[in-house]
């Protein structure tokens, strides 16, 4: 078997462009005919980075976990994960729409938030351009969701049936970050 090469991108600070550069290289090689697959990518909510994924094949996850500095960020992160799984993530596209959901507790709220997005996606036939969660408490969520008509786009994602309550968790971890986890039935 031929020897592989591992290339590591190092950056002096967060946001200098490691992921961007790597994805850019990935797409360049793919265009030359190489077989390129993204195993894992974390865009850190940077639209330009997410855009670099483009149409590279990503191995999807059915469990979505997100760590954010705030609860709102965690909920927005889960939404991006969902949109990516659906193949419906088109950063910056569309217009903002207000979304409000209620729940018994933070976990039920997370499930309801995901289910609300699934409903919008299916019934309004839209793709997602951004998630801004303004306020989350154990009573409800208030946010803005950027949606655009799906149009003629063929989405390269997986069909998601619904959010489950299996190992559903929202809380703070040891480092003080907010953590949200949800499993989706696909």
């Amino acid at each position: 078997m031929a020897r592989g090469q591992l290339r590591i991108y190092l950056g002096a600070a967060a946001g200098v462009g490691k992921t961007y550069a790597m994805l850019n290289e990935g797409r360049r090689r793919r265009d030359y005919g190489e077989d390129v697959v993204v195993g894992f990518v974390e865009p850190h909510r940077r639209p330009k980075t997410a855009a670099q994924i483009g149409d590279l094949e990503v191995v999807p996850r059915r469990k979505i976990e997100y760590r954010g500095t705030t609860l709102e960020e965690a909920f927005a992160g889960v939404a991006e994960g969902l949109a990516t799984l659906l193949g419906a993530w088109f950063p910056e596209e569309g217009t903002e729409q207000r979304v409000q959901v209620e729940g018994e507790d933070l976990e039920a709220l997370l499930a309801t938030w995901v289910d609300e997005l699934l409903y919008l996606h299916e019934v309004q036939d839209v793709v997602f351009g951004g998630f801004k969660v303004e306020h989350v408490s154990d009573r409800g969520l208030d946010g803005q969701v950027r949606v655009a008509p799906r149009g003629e786009r063929e989405l390269e994602g997986i069909g998601v049936k619904a959010a489950t309550y299996h190992q559903l968790e929202v809380g703070r971890d040891g480092d003080g970050f907010w953590f949200a986890r949800i499993y989706l039935d696909v």
Partner: protein, 483 residues
């Protein structure tokens, strides 16, 4: 620590009381030694033990040989609770794809003589006439009031619109309609999602297959079902689509709240449950039955589309080709049924999630034609592998509340499956083995590859060994249409 199985007898394994805290009954897993080992590794056995904690559960928490890990309940799980003793219903014990199921259509056509030379054209035409894929709209787009009719009437609705054969209703479980469905318990959202989707295949592991009867194991039931070697049949696997997903989502939320308020503790939140006699449970039943009516109507409409494809390709009417429905079975449902437990009849809520009802001969709910032989059970293999037709037994009533397996069950996760072979490679592999394929998303194809599923013949043999059902015929695929 992983939950372990103890061998009871051939094909029967026990999950002992105390394997997880709060078990009210033991678990019973029907399996070969190999399948039992896989179930332990998969942690599905732990889920069998978790289900055994449900209030009112009777006799045992069962699992079929095709058991695999699911959300809350394992897939392949059967659990019955006593309605009069505070027994519960759990929406997770039915699943999101309410009444996902299979129907089998037979024909007078023979593979060698009639269909073989035109298989490419047939698969292509089926692919064209059957709406499929993620989010696809259906053959019949319904108004709100029509949607309510389907939810109430099941297959009677498309029949009233001139779609399908009258006798299709007779050869469907529950004769194609669950009378206790209550559309008023179905949310506006569920209505909205379902209205454009009647007559759509969906995606994932839903499919349509042209098959050939490869071997007949028992002549009498095969004759009753109209099956013979070399015969061409059509198998169709689909469910309740968006309306089922939404109803499960809606009621999971409601039941979750009630579980807490009643002080019921469950080991997995997805096992949220409520006593059947509680208002919330009654509403759930009303809605779940409505979704089941939709699923049956959906398969009914899809079957007629398939008949039209045959008509187009062979230039003969569907009646002339004998394209009759053998039977339609559900995999994901909870039904209120009478069963004898400890010598007396009890009213039970029987959850079957990834399991099929398997009534034995003489059961009053069977159509006349099948009363002498028992209920036909349709077992789809995974794509490109053999499917089976079985028949239910008397014995299954005491062994598993009249339940048997539903299909192969997954051996590896979808992500792993995709790493073994790509969609196009898989297509080539199947075509090399004489199977013509139409798929709307090549990328997804690899997730559904045969090696991702357990060997269905082993599963079916284990069910027979355990006395739950018996093999009637094996069918091999010659054409596959996938969502």
């Amino acid at each position: 620590m992983a939950v372990k199985l103890e061998r009871v007898e051939d094909f029967v394994w026990r999950v002992p009381l105390g394997s997880v805290p709060g078990m009210r009954v033991p678990g019973i897993v029907f399996a070969t030694e190999e399948l039992a080992e896989k179930a332990e590794e998969d942690r599905a056995v732990e889920q069998v033990a978790n289900v055994a904690t449900l209030p009112g559960i009777v006799r045992a928490s069962y699992a079929m040989p095709d058991i695999h890990w699911g959300y809350g309940f394992p897939i392949g799980g059967v659990a019955a609770t006593d309605v009069d003793e505070g027994g519960v219903v759990s929406p997770g014990g039915v699943g999101f794809d309410i009444s996902c199921g299979v129907r089998l259509i037979r024909s007078e056509l023979e593979w060698e003589r009639d269909v073989g030379p035109k298989i490419g054209q047939l698969v292509h035409t089926l692919g064209r006439l059957v709406p499929r894929g993620v989010g696809q709209k259906g053959r019949m787009r319904l108004s709100r009031s029509e949607m309510e009719k389907v939810l109430q009437e099941g297959v009677r609705f498309p029949l009233s619109q001139g779609v399908g054969w009258e006798e299709d209703a007779e050869f469907c479980e529950d004769f194609g309609i669950l009378e206790d469905a209550r559309p008023e318990t179905v949310s506006d959202r569920a209505m909205e999602r379902g209205a454009p989707q009647l007559g759509s295949l969906g995606a994932g592991n839903h499919f349509l297959e042209v098959q050939v009867v490869d071997e007949v194991f028992e002549q009498q039931p095969a004759n009753a079902m109209g099956l013979f070697p070399g015969q061409v049949c059509l198998m169709l696997h689909s469910g309740s689509r968006g309306v089922g997903h939404q109803i499960c989502t809606d009621y999971l939320k409601v039941v979750d709240r009630v579980t807490n308020s009643l002080g019921i503790h469950v080991p997995d939140r997805q096992l949220a449950c409520v006593p059947v006699q509680h208002e919330a449970a009654q509403d759930y039943f009303g809605a779940m039955y409505a979704a089941a009516n939709f699923a049956r109507a959906n398969r009914h409409v899809l079957a007629q589309a398939a008949r039209e494809a045959f008509e187009e390709v062979f230039g003969r009417s569907d009646r002339d080709m004998g394209l009759a429905l053998v039977y339609d079975v559900a995999h994901n449902l909870a039904k209120v049924e009478e069963h004898d437990v400890d010598g007396r009849p009890r009213t039970l809520c029987v959850h079957r999630k990834g399991a099929t009802r398997a009534f034995g001969p003489s059961h009053p709910e069977l159509p006349d034609r099948y009363r002498p032989i028992g209920q036909p059970v349709i077992i789809p293999g995974s794509m490109g592998t053999a499917s089976y037709v079985l028949v239910g037994t008397e014995e299954s009533a005491v062994r598993s509340f009249s339940s048997t397996c539903h299909g192969a069950g997954r051996a590896m996760s979808r992500t792993k499956a995709k790493k073994v072979m790509s969609g196009p490679e898989l297509k080539e592999d199947l075509e090399g083995r004489g199977i013509t394929l139409a798929a709307s998303q090549w990328r997804m194809l690899a997730e559904e590859a045969p090696y991702a599923y357990k060997d269905v013949s082993q599963v079916v043999d284990a069910c027979e060994g355990a006395g739950l059902s018996r093999k009637v015929a094996r069918l091999r695929p010659v054409g596959v249409v996938k969502g």
